[in-house]
Amino acid sequence: MYVAVKGGEAAIENAHRLLAHVRRGDLGVIDLSVAQIGEQLALLVARVMTEGSCYDPELAALAIKQARGDVVEAVFLVRACRTTLQRFGYAEPFDTGAMRAKRRVSAIFKDVPGGQVLGPTFDYTHRLLDFTLAAGLPPPPPAEAAARPDETVPRVMPLLGEEALIEPNPPERPGATVPDLTREPVAFPAERALRLQALARGDEGFVLAIGYSTQRGFGRTHPFAGEIRYGDVMLEFMPEELGFLVPLGRMSLTECEMVNQFAGGGRAPQFTRGYGLAFGQSERKAMAMALVDRSLRAAEFGEETGAPAQDGEFVLSHCDSLQATGFVEHLKLPHYVDFQAELGLLRKLRAESADASEGKDVGEMS
């Protein structure tokens, strides 16, 4: 009886074996390959890489398989692996303007140099379940476009910059050290670089909800989608001992630049910016991130603060899905010692209150 409330090594081992068995499911159904996840669940892979803050589609696909499709668990697996990886240095900053865009849209001009490129998007699909998918039929081949996929498309935001209608991007600071959220504890108020890192790693649902709240008036920023682009960039690294750039490979990214309400104050009125960046095709995340980035800059523009989306400490302390899930789920660990302490106090208080209602003198109790 006493031992029944305690777990043992064998119980844990058995639970892990059962989990592995349940994860696999019916052995009569073909095993899901990591390659299948990578090819056919690419958006999930992108999300796991983004929140796992590690660009490795194969690793992310494996994590998704191992996690039985649970996003947070998959992110956890990727992060736990990431912390053990040795760091060789920092890659060169990449230019998203040089991106080979597979998709690029702007909502602020009817047409832009390079054109509106829809690319693979759900945007105008009718959300009707497609039963031909269930039958496993191959889709018709894509339309052959005249556009050359290698071509880079010019950015939209400089069109506003020419007239100084939008705040300039922060100046480049070559050689400056960039703070790293994963290497040093965040102190509040956190600078923008740290906030962007936290938002990029942050849970998509949380960042989406906070971004949404700004549109509903809790820290309104009047956003316009200046540009959303998705495509590949080349990642390069400069080894100190070589002294020249070494290409590391291509990385697929989604970038969102929001144009927001103008700020006046001491200077001439200008639109302001919000920025979002995520691995793979992660449009919702990049857009939500850009909204929250801008709302977290409220104090910088002397705007009223007070909405959750304007509170850096609130957003940064709660956007991480691993921290959140860990603390919520840890409630299932045993807490009986503390519960016993509360039980004891409650029994005593109830006894006292019963005594008091009978008009008895309540002595000091321990």
Partner: protein, 287 residues
């Protein structure tokens, strides 16, 4: 926890260990102050003791003997899991005997027996900030600690007294360390608070999710906050342990059947087993 081949001694890489070790040294030099540290993602979830595990991993050496307890017991699932983690990644000896351990990682309890010099007690901490539930903002609580402005806490405790006639905090009961920093002792029952005072062992506290490390050196004054007219009092249990007959120890209430029969037994399983091995018997044996 299956094999951990390919990982460093005690799992963490050396750079991470150095970072944690530096934080531990500062924590010892400023007793009760919460040192921020760059907590890493561990292969167990936040809330499962990642802070304690990181502190233990940074401290452990091959000659250490590790004991891990949760709720006072060595055989609770998470204690078993953490012990196995270090056996696999550090290859060190483990024990359930408090007196034999050099490092004891704990969640929610301090062992009953007096610890000795040279022992290190590592606490797993969920919310290291004692003022957090009075003031949710880190920027504010940090300032309050800087100014040693703890009136908020006194007010909260006094409100309890006026509402309930008692201080209604039964665990994670705040303490003042060497008369300076107010500190969260982790969610141990306040029963354990007096054991923190002037302990011969070094007490280290790790909060992974909240990224804080703090410490109480050996032989350090640790005082539970209270009032002259409402002095601090630890819980007392009306009956002895049903298994070993111990009194003056913290007891778990075990529900025996669906008719509400209950039994009270030592929460510290090693303490209970050691006493029973020495021939002590409690009421469950019909004495």
């Amino acid at each position: 926890m299956t094999g951990a081949i390919g990982y460093n001694f005690a799992y963490l890489d050396e750079q991470t260990k150095r970072m944690i070790r530096r934080a531990i040294l500062k924590a010892i030099a400023i007793p009760g102050y919460q040192v921020p540290f760059a907590s890493r993602e561990m292969p167990m979830p936040y809330g499962w003791g990642t802070g304690g595990v990181q502190v233990t991993a940074a401290v452990l050496g091959p000659r250490d003997v590790l004991k891990v307890i949760d709720q006072g017991a060595d055989d609770t699932t998470n204690a078993v899991s953490i012990r196995a983690f270090f056996r696999n990644t550090a290859g060190i000896a483990t024990t359930t005997r408090t007196s034999e351990a050099t490092v004891i990682q704990t969640r929610h309890r301090i062992p009953e027996g007096r610890l000795h010099e040279g022992q290190i007690l590592v606490f797993q901490v969920p919310i290291p900030e004692p003022l957090r539930f009075l003031e949710p903002r880190e920027t504010e609580t940090r300032r309050l600690h800087a100014l040693a402005e703890y009136g908020l806490m006194q007010v909260k405790l006094y409100e309890d007294i006026s509402r309930h006639g008692h201080i209604a905090t039964t665990y994670a009961y705040p303490v003042a360390v060497e008369g300076r920093y107010v500190m969260d002792p982790s969610p141990t029952p306040k029963f354990d608070n007096p054991k923190m005072d002037n302990s011969p062992a070094l007490q280290l506290f790790g909060a992974g999710r909240e990224r804080r490390i703090y410490a109480v050196p050996p032989y350090t004054n640790v005082r539970s906050l209270d009032f002259e007219d409402h002095p601090f009092r630890a819980q007392e249990f009306a009956e002895p342990c049903a298994l070993c007959g111990a009194i003056g120890v913290y007891l778990d209430e075990v529900v025996m059947d669906d008719r509400g029969r209950r039994m009270f037994v030592c929460s510290d399983t090693d303490h209970c087993e050691t006493r029973r091995a020495a021939g002590h018997r409690g009421g469950a044996f019909g004495l």
